[in-house]
Structure formats: C-alpha cells, structure tokens
Subunit: 298 residues, 4 copies
C-alpha cells in the first residue's frame, strides 16, 4: 500500500458545520505528520493563512492524495481536475452518504487514520473524454467521470442525431438527447433516464436515450473500449449542448460531430476498507435488506 | 350534422407535392360551392390572389370549419389559434398518418366530400390552460392541446419543484421537469416520457415526471377537472421554461407558480366516418394486428 | 353521517401482538355500546366464546361496519366478501401503513372513537367483475378490488391474446399477461408492472401488459365504464390463469373469452378524518416531502 | 477459415414450404460434396431414407457444422444440444429474420455456398450454466444461451429471494422473479422485462427483476465472470420454477439455492459475411435508419 504524506483538501462547504469538520480534519492530519495543502477556495472560506494553499495544478503536482469534503458533485469536479495528475481521491460527505463520498463526518478521524495506516481499498474508475468537431476541426474538448450528455440547449424538445459505435451505424434517433455513461455514472443521471445499473468494475459504457420518440430506442450497453460518434442532424437549427458530468457544457450545432471514448488516464478512488459497493446501493436506493431482517407485513 | 359552407385552409406545406395537393383541394372545395378562405401564410406561399385570405382572427370569425394540411404539429398550432372561436378542425396529412391528421393526401377528395355531405365523426377534445404567477401577479398565459411542460431552459439538468393537485400537496421532485398532458397528448411527448396512453375520450390529466432523480416518482393520472399547481424551488437560480405543445414557451424563475387546468372552451375535431382511434394507435405504434393475420413465426 | 352500532371484526392476526390489539379493540367497542360480531376465523384464533361470531354472510347481513385488522391483503379479501352486502370497511394495520389499512395499531382507540362519533371520511371505490366464457357459456366468475390479471399458469412464458375495449379491437399481444386494474389497484401489482398511479377517485381502468414482447405495448388508461374482452389465442396449449386480487384464480384455455367490467355494487371505505391520499403515497412510495423539510445535500 | 465437410441439419419445419426448402438444401449440400447428416426428427418428417440421420450425440460427434432451419427458438435448442460437442451453428429462418437465424430462405444457396467457400464470420457466444441445490446437494442442472429465469410456477404472483454476486449480498427482492441474461438473451425476454440491450460481444451478464414490488429494483449489469447465487425465501410455500431459455424447467422450493455462472464451453455462431449486428437490431426493433433515408414528416 502507498502511504500518503502530502494531502490536499478540496470541496464545497456550505454550512458552518462542514467548515468546522474541515478545520478539525486539517488539524488532525497535521497532528499525524501529514503535509496539508488546501485549495484556494477553501483557503479563503476557512481563512486558514497557516496552511499552504494552491490551485488545481499546485494540488495536482504536490499531493499524493486529495480529500474532497462535499457531495458527489464535488467529487466529480475534483475528479476532472485531478485525473491528469494521477492523484487519488478520498471523499467525505457532509451528512448524507454519496456513491462517491463514503466517509460520514462523524467517523472521519477514524477512517482517515485507517487510510494513513495503509488500511484502505484502492479502486480504478475509468472516465470518458469528448471531442466536438465541426467540418473536421476540433472545437471543443471535455472529460467526465459520470457521463457525457447530448441534449437540446433550450425549449425545443426533440433533437435528431445518428449514433455510430466503432464506425458502425447503430440508429438515428429523435429524442431529448442521449446519455453516454460510465459504470460510475450508472447510479446517477443515467439511472433517472432509465438506464441499468452497471457494476463499478465493469468495462462497459451505457448509451441511454432521453425520452426517445420511438419506444423501441432502449438503453444499450457496449464495450468500454468502444468509440462513440454522434452526428447531429441538420433538421433543427437550434444550439445543442454537450455536458460533462452535468457541470461543464459545450455548445454544438447541426452537422457537428461528437466523439466520445474512454480516457486513457484513469481515476483512483480510495475507500475505507469496509467499503461495499452493493451496501451503498442498498442504502442509497432503498433496496431490500436480508429477508430475516425485514419487519412483518401481510 | 352541421354543414360547412365557409371553410378555412391552414397548414405548413414544405414540399411541392403538398402545395399541389392544396391547390387541388381549394379548387375541389370551390367546385362544391364552398366559400374558401386561406391563411395569410398559405396565400403567400401558393400565390393564390383569387382566394380570400385572412389572419387567424379572420378565419376564426368567418369559417365554420378549418382544414389543416400538415403534420400533427400544424394541427396543434391551429388548435391553439382556433379554439376560442369554436371552429372545428379537420386534418390532412402530407403522406404519413398522424394521430390528429387522419386523412391521407390520396383520399382527400373522397373524404372531404363525405364531410361536406355530413358523413363524419365529431369529437370534443379538451385543452389545458396555464397561468404563470410571480408574487401573486400573473405574468404569463398559454394553452395547449397536447401538453404543458416544465423543464430547465438550459444546460442545468435538474430542477426542483413542488406539485399540488386541487390544493393538496403531492410531492416535491428533483427531475428534468414535468409533463402535464391531456389524453390527446398522451400519444405524443408524454408517451416518450414513459406515460400511459389515455383514451382520447377520457376525462383525465397525466402528470409525467421527466427523468426524476427518485425512481419512485411515477406517472400519475388524475381527474380532468383537477387544478394543478407547480411551485418552483428556489435552489437553482436558472431560468426555467414552461412550454405549450412544445411550440410556445414562457420563462419562469424560482418561486414562480405555474397553475394548470382544463380550458373551458373545448376543441372540436372532425374525422372521416371510418376513423378508429385504436386502429390509428396500431398503425402509429406498431401494435399487433389480429392474431389470424400474423405471419408464421417460431 | 351514518352511525355504526353493529360492527364486525375480521382479518389475519399472525402475531401475539396483533391478537392482543384485537382483544383490546373488542373490549373497547363493547365499552362504547357497540354490538361486536367476529368472524369464524377470529373466534377460533382468539377463543372469545363471549362474543357472537359468524361467517361472511352473517357478518354481511348483521353489521353496518366491518373493521379489518391486517394488511392490504386482508382488506382485499374482506372487500370481495362484503361488497355485495353493502357493508363499509375500516382497515387497521399491524404496524406498517398500508394503502387500504390506514389506522396504526397505537392510535386505534382514538381513531375508532372518532369514527363512532361520526368524525370520518367515507369513500366509494369501484371494483371489477369478471366472467370467463367457453363456447359462449360462462364457466367462471370473480370480482376484485385491485386487479384482475391474465397470466400463464406455469413455466411457459408468453401467452397470446387479443384485447377488445367496448367492442373495438385494440391489439393482439404476446406477453406474460395483462393486468386490468382499478385506481385502487394502481398502487399495487399494476405499479410493479409499470402502470401509472391513478388517483383513487378517478373513474378509469388501467390495462398494463406484463413484459410484452413488443416494446410498444404500453399501459393504457380507459374509461371506468368500458367493457374489456380478452380473447385467448389458440397457439399455446397451456392452461392460463385469471386471478382476482392475486388471491383467487380461475383456469382458462385457448379460445376462452374473459369479460371484465366495473361491478355495479361499489365498496365503501371508511377513513379517519385526517386521511390524505397523497400523504399515504409519499410515505409508502418514498416521494419527496416539502422542499423546506429536506436535509441539505450537494 | 475452417472448411465444413460434415454438415448436420436440424430444426423445426412447420410448413410445406419449409420442408421443401430443406429438401433443396440437402440436395444442394450434397451436390457440393458435403456429407449431410440429418436429425432423427427431420428424417421422419422429410422421409429421406437416402440421408444418414442420428440423434444429438451422433450429430455432435460427426459434424463440423450444424445448420438449423427454424426460428430463434430452434437455435436455442440446438445451442444447448451442440455446445458441449463444440460444433458451430448456422441459422436459416423460415421467412422472418431472427436475431440468431440470419439467412433468409430465398438466399440460402448463395449464403451457404459462401460459407462452404470459407467466406463467413465466426463469433463466440457465451452461455450460462445453472445448478440447483437443496441442503448442499445438487438436484438440478441446466444451461442456456439466452437466459435462466426464476419465477413462480403457478398463480401466486410474488416470490421472495436474496441475490448474491461473487459472494456479496446484493438485495432481497419480492417480485415475479428474476431474469439472468447473456448478451445474446438481451434482445429476447430480458428486453421485454425492461433490461438493456447488451452488445453480443460484451462480457457481461444482466440481472433483470420481473415486476419488482420495490420500484427501485432495477436492471443490473455485472461482469460475465460473476457467480450468481439466488437464495429462495421461505415465506411462500409454493413450487417455483427455474427455466433455461424458457424451454426447459426445473422445480425449486423455498430455501433452495440456484447457482448461475458462465459455462466454460462457448458456442460458435457462423454468420454470412455481410452480417451486421446493429442492422439486425434496426430491422427487428424498428430503430431509425439514416436520417437522409427518412421520409418527410412534420
């Protein structure tokens, strides 16, 4: 197991309580001989002039672990910012279990100490990268841990596009768009859109149509090594959007091409050693517990 | 049966063929002693200075029937324009059967003659009306034959709102929006969104969440006389949209209220006498024919 | 408001606790000058020789209210048994809120006293009746509060049938069967099968295909006064089943006809006066509460 | 490319036309110097005493290719019968394109000649194997190309079971059963049950609940190398069924365990060289063609 000596701190702290939690985490890490670096945003918010701070590049090049305090949304941002530096992420939530932030605030010192002692699970998650092309020229780039989504930017409902996988034509579709999802993203927007849950270790990509006009356009699961090409139809004259993790977006126009594939550099997630994927699903999705634990019912 | 002496013509004619069809229809109607009035748009497009033309108000006040040449989308526009004048509509498609345009171009003279002779089916369809309120003041109005839809105007995915029916709180929801659909609209966008088909004669309204975050937010069917209130959440700062039939939209902001209910004035649809609702469904949706008509299969 | 002087008690009491609750309820009712009659099953189970008991017919003809202790399943049985006698039902659950049993054990005396004092809500729910015909002869009958379901009786998956509504052919279908559901049943099996929730006051029937071979066979909502006819296909030679509320079943064969329509006699449900349909949905289905009540999240 | 000198013929020929097709195919193969062996069933049906015939074992040990005339159902049976002999299969349909039978009767000689000349595509498809255990003892075995399905054998709707994947508890479920599907089966029953389409080359298994009581029990896609264990609940006393490809079934009881995993021996499918997976999907599922090929619509 790798040991972590330089740990970055990032995240979004919207409450006093979360700020207090983070102050305590900083002190706890330092007491354990860890060099702590905090993000510019945290530095301003916490007013900790005693702690070195830096931007994403500084954190990426100086840290061997970044702890993110916040929700799954904060983790998505940190993932996109840190993946190219190869820095692993550890997520602490602010009171409600997330799929990516699996340490609860009250157990933070215990779990972080375990991690410092090498008692943790390390897991690779692949991300997607996107290139938007017009007339053969790239004009937009992006990457995402959860999903890359094509959808209409404004009030016009339906858009039209052709889908190609590994050079083969799959279908044309009139719909509210398409979600291209990693296994990590399969518990997020893709699930709302009717996609299947894909185990986090699966090497597969989900293609989930959003409210497709044709009722037979169903979610498709393809190999994680597939190259996906979306050719935007020229019927509608609107500006479409291509979003990365629902946080960053790129405008696109009819006849543009959107190319999506697995990003070469993968993300490393650090979990406490008692992490269990299916237990997180049960808790977040309300799946049934063991039959013997269930209360009586008719 | 009512007889039709003043017939308006409206629609969208994107092809030479559709224009030719309309020229022939005008001549056919006149040959049958009908006073024909065409819309301003058709007048310009067809260059028929020999035929009186007028705007929606003129058609609405002078015609006792309006024939719409186009797709279902053209019918939706005509319905919103004509409903307050109480003028019935008859739909002619441009080569592909619609749910609302059920006369095929090649049978147009035969079917229209039947209608002139009083051999037709007349059907009432209710519409929805919408009022958008801010701080208790109405700032937007609209009405729709198919659906009134709340959705995010731009790239932000999820919006938050509370739903009330007849004054009772139903649920709060985080989703891509909500479709409020008439039975007429249940074969359109609502069906793509996972809603049930509602028979055109049913006095009911469908509430269909769009990609709801919670998997238990499911389509609800309520009485056609229900009053629906959407209270937009103040979490997101974005501009939302409320669309009528996907064609007209109204911007809305957090804390605005959207009130939706059945419009008092109903729309009259005229169908050829061999019109059959379920047959249209079978043809448009590809439902199974009689078992005895099916080809052999394993 | 009607007052209740002769109250029947029925239900299924699988635990000591539920039996104790029922003993206390009997004593409480008697203390309040109510004549109590218990079902044969309860009489044996509780060994209450001091309380008159009788079969369904006796309860139906002597009681002006029947209180059912149990789950929704117990209520379904009581509904089918009592509907023809016009006796209203009041449901007490055994620790977990049901859609039909909306009094919790701990509040039983308070709520029942309210009902005795005339402080209650009375609601009509329609039921479905079914006739199975072979060669024009009826060979089976049934009725149901939730649903009447056609499905294959054994391991053969797919069955074939034609669906007619009010004499009109709707479609033929190859599937695992069809749920014909009342609004009451729309929160039960029909919901699991992908049907919409229908408000309990809606005069409508839901037709929900079970795993239809064709992806375009979708739930349909039709008028509550519709007559439904299922014509079983002759392709498969298996014995099919037609179930009422999932509790009673009738065998059927290829070429049999199943006729389903609203039962003339309706069921009266008695609710505590604070009963709220949508609140039950929120609690049973986990729908979102008021936005202001939600805990913070990212 | 392998050349085929000993070719078996199997299938179901329900029409005169299909029999004629098969007679011609036999003669065509012999004219091309192929040794033809027909199944016992075909031998009786066609009354071809001039052609050697044999049972599954004989075909499996003597043939280097088996051509199946019939529908996808016939191919499933042949797959289960031939997989352990390692004999590849080629499918000829009887007039309607199947997912597995992709040669049309009218093109049979042309396509089969191509295959004989080595001009074909060879594809591996994995199958599932199942062991049913009671008190630690295996009492039932099976294997399937499409799916292994747990469902109630009779009229009782809901069954209860616990799902484990690779030894980890996933969830308990109350439902009409569970489909465990290969990518090959993802276009069959699994699709009707709401599962995603999985590309035929994907190394993954789909777990699709049938009408689950909890609306959050959704399809899950896991690694093709996963070991699945279903532990049947002891609540219901009914006999359940475990079916292989919907054709063979095994009874099971409460507390039995069903173990399912990838079968070691894979199946080889032979396709004409112009075979295209997505084109078959487009034709069978009615997916949209190229946008430029679509007819005008509103």
């Amino acid at each position: 197991m790798q040991t972590f000596n330089y740990i970055g701190l990032a995240g979004r702290l919207s409450t006093q309580k979360a700020q207090l939690t983070t102050h305590k985490l900083i002190d706890f890490l330092r007491k354990n001989d860890v060099e702590v670096i905090i993000s510019k945003e945290l530095s301003e918010l916490l007013n900790r002039t005693d702690v070195p701070s830096g931007d994403d590049h500084f954190l990426g090049t100086h840290c061997d672990l970044v702890i993110v305090v916040g929700g799954d949304g904060s983790m998505l941002g940190a993932a996109r910012a840190m993946v190219d530096y190869g820095v692993p992420l550890l997520g602490v939530n602010r009171g409600r279990l997330g799929f990516l932030t699996d340490i609860m605030p009250k157990e933070i010192e215990e779990k972080v100490l375990d991690v410092l002692n090498g008692d943790y699970i390390s897991e690779q998650r692949f991300m997607l990268e996107m290139v938007a092309q017009r007339d053969g020229e790239a004009f937009g780039h992006g990457h995402a841990l959860n999903d890359i989504v094509l959808h209409p930017g404004r009030h016009v409902r339906m858009i039209e596009f052709e889908l190609y996988v590994d050079g083969e034509f799959v279908y044309s579709q009139s719909s509210d768009g398409l979600i291209v999802s990693t296994p990590t993203g399969s518990t997020a927007y893709a699930l709302s859109g009717g996609g299947p849950l894909m185990h986090s270790s699966l090497d597969a990509i989900g293609l989930i149509p959003l409210n497709a006009h044709s009722l037979t356009s169903r979610p498709i699961v393809i190999s994680g090594n597939s190259e996906i090409r979306l050719l935007l139809g020229d019927k509608s004259t609107t500006i479409m959007h291509v979003t990365c993790d629902g946080q960053i977006y790129q405008r696109a126009r009819p006849n543009d091409e959107i190319l999506i594939r697995k990003k070469e550099q993968q993300l490393t997630l650090i979990h406490p050693s008692d992490h269990n994927y299916y237990e997180t699903c049960r808790r977040k999705l309300g799946w049934g517990k063991h039959l013997t634990e269930q209360s009586e019912e008719d």
